[in-house]
C-alpha cells in the first residue's frame, strides 16, 4: 500500500475512533435519559424521582389486574420478576394490554410508592406465532402442571 | 390463505387501514423511485447523445442538431 494512502487510512480510522469514543461517553453519561422507562427494581430501590413525570415499564403481573366496575379505573402491578410496583390508571387501555404482557406507563410516582399513570402503552416482544400455536403452548404448559409463568407468552418483555 | 373471503382480506379484522396504508406508501415510494431514476437516466443518455452528435455534426455545419436528434431517437426504439 502506498505510504500516503496508509497515512490517510490512519487519519480516517482515528477520526472514526475519536467520534465513537465521544458518542460513547455522551450516551453513557446520558444513559438515564436515554432509557425510556424505569423498571420496577429501580423504582423500588428508590432510584426513580417522586412526583416527577416519569415512565415505568415491565410486565403486567399475572392475576394483579383489578378493574373498577363503575369507572375506567384499573389497578395492576408491573413486575420485572424481582420487584413490582402498583399502578393506577384511569382511561382506555391499548388492545394488547393483558396480564403477562409488557407495558410502559407514563405518570408520577406518589409518596406511597404507587404509580399514578395517565397513559399506558403496550410493549410487545419479538416473538410472533400463529394463534393455534400459542394455544397449544398454553395447553401443554397447563398439562405439565401449572408451575409459575408457564403460559404461552414468553417470559421476556 | 389466512382469510376466508376477499372482504375479510381487505378488512384485516379492523387493522386494514393501518396495513394497507403502509403497503400503499411502500409501493408508491418504491415505484416512484424506480420511475424517477429511470427517467433521469434516459434524460442523461439523451443529453450525452446530443453533445456528441453536435460535436460530430459541427464539421458539416448542421445548424439544428436538437430536433434531428429527437426524431432519430424515436426511430431507434424498434
Amino acid at each position: 500500500m502506498h505510504p500516503i494512502r496508509k497515512k490517510r487510512l490512519t487519519i480516517v480510522l482515528f477520526l472514526i475512533a475519536g467520534v465513537a469514543v465521544a458518542v460513547g461517553l455522551t450516551t453513557y453519561a446520558l444513559r438515564q435519559n436515554i432509557n425510556l422507562f424505569y423498571d420496577p427494581s429501580q423504582i423500588s430501590a428508590g432510584e426513580a424521582p417522586v412526583d416527577v413525570r416519569i415512565r415505568a415499564g415491565g410486565m403486567v403481573e399475572e392475576g394483579s389486574v383489578v378493574r373498577d366496575p363503575e369507572s375506567l379505573e384499573v389497578e395492576f402491578r408491573v413486575t420485572d420478576f424481582s420487584a413490582s410496583v402498583p399502578v393506577v390508571y384511569v382511561g382506555i387501555l391499548p388492545d394488547l394490554f393483558a396480564e403477562g404482557q409488557g407495558v410502559v406507563a407514563m405518570g408520577k410516582l406518589n409518596g406511597k410508592g404507587r404509580f399514578v399513570a395517565d397513559q399506558v402503552l403496550a410493549k410487545h416482544d419479538e416473538n410472533y406465532m400463529p394463534p393455534e400455536v400459542a394455544e397449544a403452548l398454553a395447553k401443554s404448559a397447563k398439562a405439565r402442571g401449572e408451575n409459575g409463568e408457564g403460559t404461552g407468552a414468553p417470559s421476556t418483555y | 390463505m389466512a382469510f376466508d373471503s376477499f372482504t375479510a382480506f381487505i378488512a384485516m379484522e379492523g387493522h386494514g387501514p393501518y396495513v394497507w396504508t403502509c403497503y400503499g406508501v411502500f409501493f408508491l415510494l418504491v415505484a416512484a423511485m424506480m420511475v424517477w431514476s429511470w427517467r433521469r437516466h434516459q434524460a442523461e443518455l439523451k443529453s450525452c447523445r446530443r453533445v456528441h452528435e453536435a460535436a460530430d455534426g459541427s464539421g458539416r455545419g448542421s445548424a439544428q442538431p436538437t430536433p434531428a436528434t429527437f426524431t432519430r431517437v424515436k426511430v431507434s426504439q424498434d
Binding site: 394488547l96 397513559q119 403496550a122 410487545h124 400463529p130 | 384485516m12 403502509c22 415510494l29 442523461e44
Partner: protein, 248 residues
C-alpha cells in the same frame, strides 16, 4: 490484488458490468418481492397477540434493514473516497444517498403506522426510534452537503467525512433495544439464534428482505450509471456507448 481493486474503480468497466447485471437484479427483485409480500399479506398466519397488524413487518423490517446496510455501504465507500480517492466510490455515495433516505423514511413511517394499533402511540422518543430519525437526518445531510458544494472533489471529501462520522449511529440503532429500555421490541432475526417466529412467517420476511436488497442493487446500478454519464460525458467511451446505442 491492488490491481484488481483499481480496475474495479474504473467507471467504464463498472458501466459494462452494471448493464449486464441490471436485468437479473430487477427480475429477481420483482419476483422475490411479489412472492414475499403476497405470502406475508395473504397466506402467513396472523399473530396470536397483534392479529393482522403485524403484517406490516414484511415491509417495515426490509426497509429498516436496508436503510442501515445502505448506510454501512456508503461509509465503506467513504473510506475508499478518502484513502484511495477512487471516483467510483464517490459516485456510489452520491447515487444511493437518496435511496437510503427514502428507505429510512419508509421504515419510520411504517413503524409509526404499526405503533398506533399495537403500542397505542404513533411516536415515542425511545432510543431506537430516535436513532433511526438521526439516520434520516444523516442521509438528508449528506445529500444537502453534496448539493451545497460546487467543486466535485471537495464535495466528495466533505460528504465522505460526514458519512463516516455518522456511521457511529449504526451500532447505536442496532443495539439500542439491548442497551437501553425501549418500547421497541428486540430484533426478530439474529445471526446467532433461530428467528423468534415460525417458518411460515420468517420465510416470507426473508424473501422480502432479499427482494428489497436486489431492488436496491438495481437502483444503485442505474443511478450510478446516470452519475457516471454526467461526469464522463465528454470521454470517448461514453461517446461510443451512446452513439452505438442509437445505431443498434
Amino acid at each position: 490484488m491492488w490491481q484488481i481493486f483499481h480496475k474495479l474503480g474504473s467507471p467504464k468497466w463498472f458501466f459494462g458490468i452494471a448493464t449486464r447485471l441490471m436485468p437479473w437484479l430487477l427480475a429477481g427483485a420483482l419476483a422475490l418481492l411479489a412472492v414475499g409480500l403476497v405470502w406475508g399479506l395473504a397466506f402467513a398466519p396472523k399473530d396470536y397477540l397483534q392479529g393482522n397488524s403485524y403484517r406490516i413487518i414484511f415491509i417495515h423490517v426490509p426497509s429498516a434493514f436496508l436503510a442501515q446496510s445502505v448506510y454501512i455501504m456508503m461509509a465503506s465507500a467513504a473510506v475508499v473516497t478518502l484513502v484511495w480517492r477512487m471516483k467510483l466510490a464517490d459516485v456510489f455515495v452520491k447515487a444511493v444517498a437518496p435511496v437510503g433516505l427514502v428507505l429510512t423514511f419508509l421504515a419510520l413511517f411504517t413503524g409509526a403506522v404499526w405503533g398506533k394499533p399495537t403500542w397505542g402511540t404513533w411516536w415515542i422518543w425511545d432510543a431506537r426510534l430516535t436513532s433511526m430519525l438521526i439516520l434520516l437526518f444523516l442521509y438528508g445531510g449528506a445529500i444537502a452537503l453534496d448539493r451545497a458544494i460546487n467543486d466535485e472533489k471537495s464535495a466528495a471529501r466533505a460528504v465522505a467525512v460526514l458519512v463516516l462520522v455518522g456511521v457511529v449511529n449504526i451500532p447505536i440503532i442496532k443495539y439500542s433495544v439491548e442497551w437501553w429500555n425501549t418500547l421497541h421490541q428486540p430484533a426478530t432475526f439474529k445471526l446467532t439464534e433461530k428467528p423468534s417466529m415460525p417458518a411460515e412467517m420468517w420465510v416470507p420476511l426473508l424473501l422480502s428482505v432479499l427482494g428489497l436488497y436486489l431492488m436496491f442493487g438495481w437502483l444503485a446500478c442505474l443511478r450510478m450509471q446516470t452519475e457516471i454519464l454526467v461526469r464522463e460525458q465528454r470521454t470517448r467511451w461514453v461517446k461510443e456507448h451512446v452513439l452505438a446505442r442509437r445505431a443498434g
